[in-house]
C-alpha cells in the first residue's frame, strides 16, 4: 500500500470521527425537542442519580396545521391574497429563509386545505416540497404524497393526514439529524404565518366579541414557549435575529391581559373525555390589537421578502 493511500485513510478516519462527534452532540440538559442518548454507567447508583436530576424539556408550539384549524374554527373567511405567493419560492436560498418558509407554506397549504381550495393546495404542497428539498430533508414530501392529494382532493381527512405526515417527516428529520435550530425556525415560520393571517382577517367593525380576536389573545399563552424554543438554540446567528423579533412581539403581548380562574377536571364517562373547566377574563384594546398586527406583519414580511 502506498503512503498516499495510508495518509488519505487517516484523514478520512479523523474526518468521520469529528463528524460523528458533532452529530452526536445536541446540546445540554435543557435542550428543547432533542433526543438524548445516555452512556451506560460503571457505577449505576451514581449515574442514575445524575440521570434523575437531568431534564428534557419540550416546547411545543402549535403546528401550522393546528394554527390553520384555529382560524377556521373561529369562523374566519378564506383570503388567498394573504398567503405567501408560491412565485416567491425561488427567492429563498438560505437555510434560514427556507426553514421559515417551509413553516409559512405549510401553514398556507393547511389553510387552503381546510377551505377546500384544491388547486392552491397542490401549488402550496409543491412550494413546501421545494423548501424541504432545499434544506436537504430527505423524503419529507414525495411525489406520492402530492399524487395522493390529487387523488383525494375532496377528502379533507386524507388531505389533513398527508399534511400532518409530511410536516412530521420534516421536523423529525431535522431533530434526528442534529438541526434543532432549523426545526425551531420551521415552527416559528408556521406560527407567525398563522398569527399574521388571523390578524389580517379581523374586521375592526366587529372587534368586541369577535371569536378570532379571542384566538389571537390565546397566542399570548404560547409566546414564552416560542421564546424558550428559540433560546434553546441561542448562539445560532439566524436564531438570535429571531429572538430579537419575537422579544419585540412579546412586549406587545404583555399589554394583553389574561386572568384565568382555578381549573377543575370533570370526567364525562359517556364520552370518556375529561373537561377542564375554568373561567377566564381577557382584555385587549383595539389600539393594542393594531400595534400587534403591525409588529406581526413586520416580522412575517421579513420572513417572506
Amino acid at each position: 500500500m502506498n503512503r498516499k493511500y495510508r495518509l488519505s485513510s487517516v484523514i478520512l478516519v479523523v474526518f468521520i470521527l469529528i463528524i460523528s462527534l458533532f452529530t452526536g452532540c445536541k446540546g445540554g440538559k435543557k435542550g428543547s425537542d432533542q433526543n438524548v442518548t445516555v452512556k451506560m454507567p460503571q457505577d449505576n447508583a451514581v449515574i442514575l442519580q445524575d440521570i434523575k436530576q437531568a431534564e428534557k424539556i419540550f416546547n411545543a408550539l402549535p403546528s401550522p396545521l393546528e394554527s390553520a384549524m384555529l382560524i377556521k374554527s373561529a369562523g374566519a373567511r378564506f383570503d388567498a391574497n394573504l398567503l405567501n405567493p408560491v412565485t416567491n419560492v425561488n427567492t429563498y436560498v438560505t437555510n434560514k429563509s427556507q426553514a421559515l418558509n417551509l413553516g409559512v407554506y405549510t401553514c398556507d397549504l393547511s389553510f387552503a386545505s381546510l377551505y377546500e381550495q384544491t388547486q392552491l393546495l397542490i401549488d402550496y404542497m409543491n412550494a413546501a416540497k421545494k423548501m424541504a428539498d432545499g434544506l436537504g430533508i430527505l423524503k419529507a414530501i414525495e411525489q406520492d404524497d402530492i399524487d395522493k392529494l390529487e387523488e383525494n382532493i375532496n377528502n379533507v381527512d386524507v388531505i389533513m393526514d398527508v399534511v400532518s405526515q409530511t410536516f412530521m417527516n420534516s421536523n423529525s428529520y431535522l431533530e434526528d439529524n442534529g438541526q434543532p435550530a432549523t426545526a425551531a425556525m420551521v415552527l416559528v415560520g408556521g406560527w407567525i404565518e398563522g398569527l399574521y393571517i388571523s390578524t389580517q382577517l379581523v374586521d375592526m367593525k366587529g372587534f368586541n366579541g369577535n371569536k378570532l380576536v379571542g384566538r389571537i389573545i390565546d397566542q399570548k399563552l404560547s409566546i414564552d414557549i416560542l421564546l424558550n424554543l428559540l433560546k434553546s438554540s441561542k448562539g445560532n446567528p439566524a436564531v438570535d435575529e429571531l429572538i430579537i423579533q419575537v422579544t419585540k412581539l412579546s412586549s406587545v403581548f404583555d399589554k394583553i391581559s389574561i386572568k384565568t380562574g382555578p381549573v377543575r377536571s370533570e370526567f364525562d364517562a359517556a364520552t370518556n373525555t375529561t373537561i377542564l373547566k375554568s373561567e377566564v377574563k381577557t382584555d385587549m384594546t383595539p389600539v393594542t390589537f393594531k400595534e400587534l398586527s403591525i409588529v406581526v406583519a413586520e416580522i412575517r414580511n421579513s420572513f417572506v421578502k
Binding site: 433526543n35 401550522p64 393546528e66 389533513m160 431533530e175 375529561t274
Partner: protein, 147 residues
C-alpha cells in the same frame, strides 16, 4: 498494513450508527404512538426522546377551547411503565395516568384556552446494581374541532 484498509470501514460504520437511536425513535413514534391517536388528526409535531428508567421529561403546550384533544404517550416495550401527569399553570395536577392503570392516552377538552405542562416519567424496576433500561418515549397530540 491491513489496518489502513479496515479503519475507514470501521469509521464509516461508527458514522452510520451514530444517529441510529434517533432514527429508531422516529420509527417507533410512527409505528407505535401515532396509531394511538386513532380518529384524532395528528398535529404534525414530533416529540420523542431516549429516556432511562427513573428519568423525567417535561412538555409545555397551549391547548385551545375550540378543540378536543388526545395526548398519546408511549414507551418502548423494554421500558417499565411510563407515568404522565398534566398540570395547570399553578402546578395543580389535573390528570395522572397512574390512576388509570398507566393508560397511554388521555382525551380532554377545555372551557378556556390554557397552557398546560405534561410531566412524563419512566418508572423504575427498582433493582439496584442492574443496568437501567433505556428506550424511546414518544409524545404526540391529536385534535379535532369541538362538536
Amino acid at each position: 498494513m491491513r489496518i489502513f484498509k479496515t479503519l475507514p470501514l470501521l469509521a464509516l460504520f461508527i458514522l452510520a450508527f451514530s444517529g441510529s437511536s434517533d432514527a429508531q425513535c422516529k420509527a417507533f413514534a410512527k409505528k407505535d404512538c401515532l396509531p394511538e391517536l386513532s380518529t384524532y388528526t395528528h398535529d404534525g409535531n414530533y416529540h420523542a426522546a431516549v429516556l432511562v428508567e427513573g428519568e423525567e421529561a417535561e412538555l409545555y403546550k397551549t391547548f385551545y377551547s375550540d378543540m378536543e384533544y388526545r395526548v398519546a404517550i408511549v414507551g418502548e416495550d423494554k421500558l417499565p411503565m411510563v407515568e404522565f401527569k398534566v398540570l395547570d399553570a399553578n402546578k395543580n395536577i389535573l390528570y395522572s395516568n397512574k390512576e388509570k392503570d398507566y393508560a397511554k392516552t388521555w382525551d380532554f377538552k377545555l372551557q378556556s384556552s390554557q397552557q398546560l405542562k405534561l410531566v412524563v416519567k419512566v418508572s423504575s424496576f427498582n433493582k439496584p446494581g442492574d443496568t437501567p433500561a433505556s428506550g424511546c418515549v414518544a409524545i404526540m397530540f391529536g385534535f379535532k374541532m369541538k362538536k
